[in-house]
């Protein structure tokens, strides 16, 4: 599953932040899941939990939060969400799931039709916060 690759990336990034510190220093990790990429939260949660258990910092907690997608047109300034991007086929959605930038092939500004827009937030997987125990700082 594609979600495993992203979960592995979260684990690798967490490990790199911890570099040089005792793994028990890790308190928590908060992960944002962008709505645009439409990650299967159940699979991602399972993958992250499984990989988490393999690491020495398994006593730390992690939380997942879904971030709604917000798009903004550079041509006319219109802002909109995915619910205002009708007509996406399941094949389009699958392509965006694998590569969120594929959205630029299928979504246009609902106001002026321009392809020149940006995904302001809610693109994909990112780490919102990595908490380190105060005593380790």
């Amino acid at each position: 599953m594609h979600e495993w690759a992203l979960a592995e990336a979260v684990i690798a990034a967490t490990s790199s932040v911890l570099a040089g510190r005792d793994p028990s220093c890790l308190k928590s990790v908060s992960v944002l899941i962008g709505e645009l990429q439409a990650i299967d939260r159940g699979i991602f949660d399972f993958a992250l939990s499984s990989l988490w258990e393999e690491k020495p910092f398994r006593s730390a907690s992690f939380t997942l939060r879904t971030e709604p997608a917000e798009l903004s047109c550079r041509a006319c300034g219109c802002g909109w969400g995915l619910e205002q991007s009708p007509g996406l086929t399941s094949a389009n959605r699958e392509a965006i799931h694998f590569l969120p930038e594929a959205a630029h092939a299928f979504i246009r500004c609902p106001s002026c039709g321009s392809p020149d827009y940006q995904v302001v937030r809610g693109r994909g997987v990112s780490i919102e916060n990595i908490g380190i125990l105060q005593s380790c700082l």
Partner: protein
């Protein structure tokens, strides 16, 4: 906010041998022809080869290789498409199909990081990267994300191409990206200007690829691509840079 993808790219490429960006600051010099034909030559010689098309806005490597865009299989990531025996392929075109991708710099960078973070190449002897023209996000990102990246620099003998490619060689030197060789494409027996540019910049001249009238008819057919004179010329180039 932290982007976790960069932390896993080294692991994803951990079983890949040499990684070579087929590069030129000038458009239309035959980067994609050289990348795909070289990959076909290597694959038919028994090497496991990957082709990564990073020309996101002008993707065409799939057309040369005859790969029909389709959703990839998944196994703890996405698996590259098989283009032929020993030849594996990944591109944004797999996802966008034949639709235009109008991307700005930050979106190009995001797409590159995503492709590098989630593609499971597995063991490869080499990964050939079809770079877009210019010295933009793709070149800068790849050099930063893949510290062991090499460049095979391609130019035609035209004074215009040589002048522009000379700038790329200077930037690659500043970024400490090793140049495995400089190739004269569409040489037509007059590769001296490219040979001189390579020497003046302190790089090795890797050979020349002649204009091949049979290429157009071979596009999309890896067997025919392998029998072109361009393939024979690229064989010598690949030997010169130690890939064959």
């Amino acid at each position: 906010m932290m982007d976790p993808r960069e932390s896993i790219i080294g692991t994803r490429l951990g079983r890949v041998g040499r990684i070579i960006g087929f590069s030129s600051a000038k458009g239309g010099v035959g980067k994609t022809l050289c990348t795909t034909t070289a990959a076909v030559v290597l694959a038919r010689a028994g090497r496991r080869v990957g082709v990564l098309d990073l020309d996101l806005q002008g993707a065409s490597a799939h057309i040369f290789l005859g790969v029909q865009p389709r959703m990839p299989a998944e196994d703890r990531g996405i698996l590259p498409l098989s283009a032929a025996e020993n030849l594996f392929f990944m591109s944004a075109s797999i996802f966008a199909g034949e639709k235009a991708l109008a991307l700005r710099g930050s979106e190009v960078s995001d797409a590159i990081r995503e492709l590098l973070a989630v593609t499971q190449w597995g063991p490869l002897d080499c990964l050939l990267v079809d770079m877009p023209p210019g010295i933009g996000d793709e070149v800068l990102d790849l050099a930063r994300l893949i510290p062991r990246l090499e460049a095979l620099v391609i130019s035609t003998p035209s004074a215009v191409s040589v002048a522009v490619v000379r700038r790329l060689l200077a930037v690659l030197a500043e970024m400490r990206v090793p140049v495995s060789g400089v190739v004269a494409n569409m040489a037509a027996g007059r590769a001296d200007s490219v040979r001189e540019m390579a020497a003046q910049s302190g790089n090795a001249f890797a050979g020349e690829v002649q204009v091949d009238g049979a290429i157009e008819a071979a596009i999309g057919d890896v067997v025919r691509l392998a029998s072109t004179t361009a393939a024979a010329d690229l064989c010598k180039v690949l030997a010169a840079i130690g890939l064959l």
